[in-house]
């Protein structure tokens, strides 16, 4: 296999809050191949966005900080870089789009300015070529009348259009990795589907890798090659998308899938996962999911399950799948 483009290992991102130390991301490991799309799925508060912001090193300071771990991108640990070196990677090698299209653009600059700025900052495209590239980017993300849009201000565009602009900005320097943090959550359902399709097509056309963060397991099959399910600051299961949807291992993943509306269960009442994600300042002892888990065992409230390889493509953190019982697959992930 090729060396991964992105390899995150044991990432811990903490926040000092008035309520105490918040361990928002608490030991996350995964890797992403060039051209691969991975979805991180989880409820709000599970640490998905903070994982992405940690990769960008845009965790809100001074409250938030990366406690430990490595984030190696193209073989280089991003956490070793200076702010200036990291700046030359942001928006050029790694781009990010956000959940809030309505507020993510600067209200006092034109769309054209904001797209061009992304290019001029990195000196990759200059002057006229930046302008014409801005125009073709807008075309590529499906904006009608790009020439007009270049001169418009964000408030003149709808949420979906603004998210398209954000995508155009993110793609401006042909990045190798796109972090998309709930890019469709704030949008109407029909627009959601369009944006998702657009992201998938762009990913395929450009061959970039994509990390799609979402709380909606229902959308991952359209886009992602594999899925990491996050709960309470940790990844509890990783699996190829199809396998995950057809054969989930972790009780939390099973609950998420059971609560998805599906054709085969049409007419039946939807399953709902009881309870909410606990606050990140007070993660429960043992398995963090144990008080919501219907299958919990004796040891679950005292001992934290470790991420264990289930087979060649899957890993899971749950006492139902003890490492020692899987001969030949006993390697524990960090």
């Amino acid at each position: 296999m090729n060396p991964p483009l992105l390899q995150v290992n044991g990432l811990k991102t903490y926040f000092n809050t008035p309520a105490g130390l918040s361990k928002a991301v608490d030991g996350v490991s995964f890797s992403l191949q060039p051209g691969e799309t991975m979805a991180i799925v989880g409820e709000s508060g599970s640490g998905k966005s903070i994982t992405a912001l940690s990769i960008m090193q845009l965790v809100p300071e001074p409250a938030g900080y990366i406690e430990s771990g490595t984030i190696s991108f193209d073989g280089q640990d991003l956490l070793d870089l200076t702010w200036e070196q990291m700046r030359s990677i942001r928006g050029r090698q790694i781009s990010m789009i956000f959940q809030e299209p309505m507020t993510s653009l600067n209200p006092v600059f034109t769309i054209g300015y904001q797209i061009r700025e992304a290019m001029l900052t990195h000196d990759k495209f200059k002057g006229e070529s930046a302008t014409s590239r801005a125009r073709s980017l807008l075309e590529r993300v499906g904006m009608p009348s790009p020439n007009k849009v270049l001169r418009q201000y964000p408030h003149e565009l709808s949420g979906g259009m603004r998210q398209r602009v954000m995508i155009a900005i993110a793609l401006a320097n042909e990045p190798r990795l796109l972090l998309a943090d709930e890019p469709t959550t704030a949008l109407d359902v029909t627009i959601q589907a369009q944006i998702l399709t657009l992201l998938r097509d762009l990913q395929r056309d450009t061959g970039m890798s994509m990390l799609l963060i979402t709380h909606d397991l229902g959308i991952v099959s359209q886009v992602a090659d594999k899925v990491a399910v996050m709960y309470a600051g940790q990844i509890v299961e990783q699996s190829p998308t199809n396998t995950l949807l057809s054969n989930p291992l972790h009780p939390y993943t099973q609950g998420l899938i059971a609560s998805l509306p599906s054709r085969s269960r049409r007419g039946q009442e939807l399953y709902t996962l009881e309870g909410v994600v606990p606050p990140p300042t007070r993660w429960p002892a043992g398995c963090r999911f144990h008080d919501r888990c219907s299958k919990r065992l004796q040891i679950c409230d005292s001992q934290m399950p470790l991420a264990t390889k289930y087979d060649d493509t899957r890993s899971v953190s749950c006492h139902l799948y003890p490492a020692q019982e899987m001969a030949g697959n006993q390697e524990r992930l960090k």
Binding site: R90, G91, M96, F98, T103, P107, Y153
Partner: protein, 314 residues
């Protein structure tokens, strides 16, 4: 835009009438024409006839509603009339003589204050959370807590007496005026600095927490560019509105400043008129003050629309 202006000007008519009415009522509650006549007649013990003549001369013998209508009409037509004082000079003449010192000091303080305060606010905002920021904001609170008088007297003492850099007080026309304006401008800037820098810093920090700042960083924009371009242009909106709102106050001349520095400006003129119960001058100056304030607010709205493309004047 034109429609908006016309509407705003029409709205200002009832406001101005109201201002005139209040001034009129307040005047008759605190003084009577007879008293003014006695003050302003040259004779030591004027006879009843002399007082009557004076009242007739200055129009105070007409029915009150007629007085109000006449004077208000005059003000709206900018026929400001003559002073009630012995000399009885034209109010307009005095305004023409004394607007310049007020204007000069106002423009200089406004320009200097906004430049200096904005720069300082940018510096403390850039170094937010560091000791520079903490000490800077503490200093601001200290400067806000010190009264205006201390700055005036302290400034006169340090610059005028000790260093002999500037005249202690007074005013001369022409280029000489800059020497006299220097100290009042310094005092005006310094006395407002604490509050402004703190307020501007808050505007900047509010903007720094906005999502578009995160976007700019995610694009790889450098921190100085984030601050000086993205944040500053947005923070300019509240900075501008608060500053433009202050223009009317500046223009009428800070009353304390002009009397302490003995500057023959509009503020001084108004104080003298109040002291000598010169109703004709007071009502004219109050009217002009109201007019300048209204114009200031309209200018605020226009400047708002110029910086913030989301604002439409309709």
């Amino acid at each position: 835009m034109i429609g908006y202006l016309i509407r705003r000007l029409l709205y200002s008519i009832p406001i101005l009438v109201g201002v005139c009415f209040l001034t009129f009522v307040l005047f008759y509650m605190t003084a009577s024409p007879g008293e003014i006549a006695r003050r302003n007649l040259s004779a030591k013990n004027p006879t009843a006839q002399q007082i009557k003549d004076w009242e007739h001369q200055h129009g105070y013998d007409k029915p009150k509603w007629k007085q109000f209508l006449d004077t208000t009409e005059g003000l709206f037509l900018l026929r400001l009339g003559r002073s009630d004082s012995v000399k009885g000079e034209r109010v307009m003449t005095r305004i023409k003589e004394s607007w310049f010192p007020s204007f000069e000091i106002a423009v200089l303080s406004f320009g200097a204050a906004i430049t200096i305060n904005l720069s300082l606010a940018l510096v403390v905002a850039y170094f937010r959370g560091t000791y520079l920021d903490i000490y800077g904001t503490s200093l601001c609170v200290f400067m806000m807590s010190v009264t205006y008088l201390v700055y005036i007297i302290g400034g006169q003492f340090v610059f005028g007496r000790l260093l002999k850099l500037t005249p202690v007080a007074g005013f001369l026309p022409g280029w000489e005026s800059l020497r006299f304006a220097f100290l009042p401008v310094v005092v005006a800037v310094i006395s407002g600095m604490g509050a402004s820098v703190r307020q501007f810093r808050t505007f900047m920090l509010d903007e720094m927490n906005q999502d578009y700042v995160r976007t700019a960083r995610a694009k790889g924009v450098s921190e100085p560019q984030v601050l000086f371009k993205h944040v500053l242009k947005n923070a300019a909106i509240p900075v501008l509105t608060t500053s433009v709102q202050a223009i009317p106050g500046l223009f009428l001349g800070s009353i304390l400043l002009e009397s302490f520095f003995n500057i023959p400006g509009l503020g001084n003129y108004l104080v003298d008129a109040i002291n000598s119960q010169d109703f004709a001058v007071v009502r004219a100056m109050v009217f002009i003050g109201a007019l300048v304030t209204i114009v200031g607010y309209i200018l605020t709205d226009i400047s708002y629309a110029l910086v913030d493309k989301r604002v439409r004047l309709e």
